[in-house]
C-alpha cells in the first residue's frame, strides 16, 4: 500500500478539529492552551505534507514550519506566564472565574 498525502492530511484535519473542540469546551486554561497547541501542530503537519508531496523541489513549507514552531513556543510561554498571574490573583485557573468584565 502506498502512503499518499491524504493519509497525513486527514489526521492533521482531525487534530485541528479536536483542538477547536477542546478550546471551546474545556474549562481549565491549561487544557485550553493544550488544545491551541494541537491546532498549531496540525497546521505544521499540513505545511510539511504539502511541501513533501506536492512541491518537493523547494523547502518553503519546511522553513515556515520551523518558524511556526518557534512562534508557538513563544505564545505558550507568554500564555502560561499570564495564567500564573491569574492563579496568583484568583487561586484557580478556571475560565469561569474570568467574569469581572462582560458584555
Amino acid at each position: 500500500m502506498e502512503i499518499t498525502a491524504v493519509y497525513y492530511l486527514i489526521p492533521a484535519l482531525i487534530m485541528f478539529c479536536c483542538g477547536v473542540y477542546g478550546f471551546i469546551t474545556r474549562k481549565n486554561m491549561i487544557a485550553m492552551l493544550i488544545s491551541l497547541e494541537l491546532m498549531l501542530n496540525a497546521v505544521d503537519i499540513n505545511f510539511v505534507v504539502f511541501n513533501r508531496f506536492l512541491y518537493p523541489e523547494q523547502m518553503e513549507g519546511m522553513f515556515f514550519t520551523l518558524f511556526a514552531i518557534a512562534i508557538a513556543a513563544a505564545e505558550t510561554a507568554l500564555a502560561i506566564a499570564i495564567i500564573i498571574n491569574i492563579f496568583r490573583a484568583a487561586k484557580n485557573i478556571d475560565v469561569r472565574t474570568l467574569n469581572e468584565m462582560k458584555f
Binding site: 478550546f23 497546521v43 506536492l54 498571574n85 491569574i86 468584565m101
Partner: protein, 492 residues
C-alpha cells in the same frame, strides 16, 4: 549574501536604534535618572519620525525590494509608517504621567521596550511580501501586546483582559495559519506575487476556505464583528495608555496590512470570492459596533465599540479596490489617530487624577474642567464626522473611494454605512450631553492635569482642527498612491 540590502529597511533600522538606546538607558542608567526614560523615548521617537520624513523627501521615492522579494518598501508604505510614528509619539507623550507613577517604577522600561517591539512587528507586517515574514511581523505585533495589557499588576481586570487577549489571539493565528497552509497547498509558494498569479485561474472550495480563514485571522486583530468579542474586555482591562496604543496604532497598521494582503495576494479572486465576504463583514461590523456602543457606561468600553464600528468604515477603503481607497484608508487612519487619541487623552487624564472612567461621572464636567470637556467634545464631533472637523473629511473620502468602484451593491453598502453614521452620532452626542447639558453637580473635582497630558491634548486637538481645514493632505496621499498603484494592484 549582499548585506547592503539591510539599508533598504531605513525606518526599521531607525526604530531598532531607538529600541536599543531605550533598552540601554533602562538597563544601565542610575536609579535617580530613570524618571527621564519616558521623555528620552519621546525625543528619540521624534528624531526617528523626522529622519523618516527627511529621508523620504530627499531620497529615492521608488520601490525597493530586498531579501529576494520578501521585503518591499515604497513611498506609500513609508508614508503609512510615518503616520503610525506620529501616533506613537502622541501615545508616548500621553503615557508619561502614568509611566512615572508610583506603581510603574519597576516596569517603566518594559512598557516602552514592548511598545517599540510591537511597532517593529507592525512595520514588518506592512512591508512583507512573503507570508513567512508577514506571520513573524503579525505575531511580534500581537504577542508583546498581551504582556502590555497585563502590565497593571495590581488590578485583576488587567490579568483577565490579558488572558482573554492571548487565548483568542493564538486561536485566531492558528486559524490564519491553517488558511495559509491551504494557500500553500494550492499554489506551492508563499510569495505574494506568485500566489497572485497562481490563483488567477483557479477557483475551488479550498480557495474559498483559505480566504475565509485568512480574513478571520486578520479580522480578529482588526476586531471586525464576528471576531470582535475580545475587544471591549481588553480595552477596559488594559491600562489606558496601552488601550490607546491598541486601538489606534495596532488597528491602523493591521488595516493597511489587510489591504496589502487582500490586494496583492487574493486580488485576482476579488469579485469571485472575497468581495461578498467583505460586504457582509462591513455591514455587520458597523451595525453591531454601533448598537452595542449605545448601551455602554464605561468610557473605555464605549470607545472599544466605537472603534469596532470605525474598523468597519476603514474596511470600505479595502473593498473600494482602487487607489482612492488606499489614499482614503491612510487618511482615515491619520484622522482616527488624532480623534481617538484626543478622547483617550481626556480619559487618561481624568483616570490618572481621580480614577473615574464611568460616563455617569462625566456629568457636568464642563463646570469643573472646561478645557478637558472641550477637548472631549471635539474628539466626539470628529469621531462622529461633523463637518468642520477632520472626521467628516475622512468619512467623506472613504465613501467617495468606495463609490468610485461603481457597482450597485457598493451604493447600497455606502448607504447602510451612512445610515449608521447617524446612529453613531446619537451615542457620541450622549457623551457631549452628559458633559454639557446634565444639570447635576460633577463628581470630578477641578484638577490640574500634568504638563505632558496637556501637550498631548494640544497636539491632538490641533490635528483634528488642521486636518479638517487643510484636508488637502489627502490629495498628496492620493498622488503618492497613484504613482505606485502598479505595485499595489498589479495593474498590467
Amino acid at each position: 549574501m549582499d548585506y547592503s540590502q539591510f539599508l533598504a529597511m531605513k525606518q526599521e533600522i531607525a526604530l531598532l536604534v531607538v529600541f536599543l538606546l531605550v533598552f540601554l538607558y533602562d538597563t544601565f542608567m542610575p536609579k535617580q535618572t530613570q524618571k527621564g526614560l519616558p521623555a528620552f523615548t519621546v525625543v528619540l521617537m521624534l528624531i526617528a519620525t523626522a529622519a523618516g520624513f527627511c529621508s523620504h523627501c530627499l531620497g529615492s521615492a521608488g520601490d525597493v525590494v530586498a531579501f529576494a522579494g520578501m521585503y518591499q518598501t515604497s513611498a506609500v508604505i513609508a508614508a503609512i509608517k510615518g503616520i503610525l510614528n506620529i501616533g506613537v509619539v502622541i501615545v508616548l507623550i500621553q503615557s508619561i504621567k502614568w509611566a512615572n507613577s508610583e506603581a510603574m517604577t519597576m516596569r517603566r522600561g518594559e512598557f516602552y521596550e514592548l511598545l517599540l517591539v510591537t511597532l517593529f512587528g507592525m512595520y514588518l507586517m506592512m512591508s512583507a511580501r512573503h507570508f513567512l515574514l508577514f506571520i513573524i511581523g503579525l505575531e511580534s505585533a500581537s504577542l508583546p501586546l498581551a504582556a502590555m495589557v497585563a502590565l497593571d499588576k495590581n488590578r485583576y481586570e488587567s490579568h483577565e483582559a490579558a488572558v482573554k487577549y492571548i487565548l483568542t489571539a493564538v486561536f485566531s493565528s492558528a486559524i490564519f495559519m491553517l488558511g495559509l497552509s491551504f494557500v500553500y497547498g494550492l499554489t506551492g509558494s508563499l510569495y505574494f506575487e506568485n500566489i497572485y498569479f497562481a490563483l488567477s485561474t483557479k477557483l475551488s472550495v479550498m480557495l474559498v476556505a483559505a480566504i475565509a480563514f485568512v480574513i478571520a485571522g486578520i479580522g480578529f486583530k482588526l476586531s471586525l464583528v464576528p471576531f470582535h468579542l475580545w475587544t471591549a474586555d481588553v480595552y477596559q482591562g488594559a491600562p489606558t495608555s496601552v488601550t490607546s496604543y491598541l486601538s489606534v496604532i495596532s488597528k491602523g497598521a493591521t488595516a493597511f496590512a489587510f489591504l496589502v494582503v487582500m490586494a496583492q495576494v487574493f486580488g485576482s479572486a476579488y469579485s469571485r470570492v472575497w468581495e461578498w465576504m467583505l460586504y457582509a463583514l462591513i455591514i455587520v461590523t458597523i451595525t453591531v459596533g454601533n448598537l452595542f456602543a449605545i448601551r455602554q457606561r464605561n468610557m473605555k468600553r464605549f470607545l472599544a465599540f466605537s472603534s469596532i464600528s470605525q474598523a468597519g468604515y476603514i474596511m470600505l477603503g479595502v473593498i473600494a479596490y482602487n487607489t482612492m481607497g488606499v489614499a482614503a484608508l491612510m487618511y482615515y487612519v491619520l484622522v482616527y489617530i488624532f480623534s481617538n487619541l484626543a478622547a483617550f487623552g481626556v480619559i487618561g487624564a481624568i483616570e490618572n487624577a481621580t480614577g473615574k472612567v464611568s460616563m455617569d461621572d462625566y456629568r457636568g464636567l464642563h463646570k469643573t474642567n472646561p478645557r478637558l470637556a472641550f477637548c472631549m467634545m471635539l474628539a466626539m464631533f470628529s469621531l462622529a464626522g461633523i463637518p468642520p472637523f477632520a472626521g467628516f473629511f475622512s468619512k467623506f473620502f472613504i465613501f467617495t473611494g468606495a463609490i468610485n468602484q461603481g457597482s450597485v451593491a457598493i451604493y447600497v453598502l455606502v448607504l447602510i454605512a451612512l445610515i449608521n453614521t447617524i446612529i453613531s452620532l446619537y451615542y457620541y452626542l450622549l457623551v457631549v450631553k452628559a458633559m454639557y447639558i446634565a444639570e447635576e453637580e460633577c463628581t470630578i473635582a477641578r484638577f490640574k492635569s500634568a504638563c505632558s497630558e496637556r501637550l498631548g491634548l494640544i497636539i491632538t486637538v490641533a490635528g483634528i482642527m488642521l486636518l479638517g481645514i487643510a484636508s488637502c493632505c489627502y490629495s498628496s496621499l492620493l498622488d503618492l498612491t497613484s504613482v505606485s498603484q502598479m505595485q499595489m494592484y498589479f495593474i498590467h
